[in-house]
Symmetry: C2
Subunit: 131 residues, 2 copies
Amino acid sequence: MTVQPSKQAIDFCATMTDEQDEFAREMLERVSAKWPLRTLQILQAAGGPLRFSRVLERVGGISQKVLTQTLRMLERDGLITRTLYPQVPPRVEYELTPLGYEFLLQTVPLWHWIIEHLPAFTAARHEAAKR
Amino acid sequence: MTVQPSKQAIDFCATMTDEQDEFAREMLERVSAKWPLRTLQILQAAGGPLRFSRVLERVGGISQKVLTQTLRMLERDGLITRTLYPQVPPRVEYELTPLGYEFLLQTVPLWHWIIEHLPAFTAARHEAAKR
DNA sequence: CTCCTTGGTTTCCAATAGGTAAGTATAGTT
DNA sequence: AACTATACTTACCTATTGGAAACCAAGGAG
């Protein structure tokens, strides 16, 4: 490894407290689990509020229980809002908050980089499989 | 939601194939699990090859078994190299690849953003706890 | 009086993750 | 002959995750 450019971009991590480090790690882990990111993307793509059932359809492959958990978690972290209209049958709408939108924006470069380097990953796996 | 700037930065996602989407999601999920990112950061901070035991010490709190699994996975994805020196007792060294280093660089802005917005997350949780 | 609807919650079960501890291989040291 | 060191691997056990499906509330329709 002789790569040097913007090494300090990584080294800022050294200036973090353990608490910050742990919290950031937790957020990243939580949000990059199987469903949360996809859920946020669905809500972003919708461009407005979505009812529970609509999210369920569009995310696809997720169970009711897990979607409920996911939405509650995202709400707790302030990334989405949950609005209950006390009708019968009840109507609940979920919507991306500005914070959630900003977060989603931050993930884009990483996302993009991974897709650009998809061939490199495939090659690495192929190489590893030979041995 | 009236935020509009660089909306297309997110919408590029729509141009992805399902395969790309799934793969990118998988990579992100894998690498942001409990140990992989931390392991990469340790190897980066070392600035050179590290033996298994040294990584074990520095990561801290990880078991031998899980570290082995983590390192193998990172190697398979081409983010680190594993070099076995056939001595007795055996010596094995792990080192960040340029791909691994680049990946780590990509995570920095997101990491940074999360830490900057830590107060917002804390506030959201506090708000949620009240209800 | 029963069914339908929505947005869950609850229960049960199977799969996965992760930890501890012990085993393994082998040359060198005591 | 016993012991050490290294880098795992294996066995075993527990805890968490996730899916399917049943249950629930409450008013309106038939």
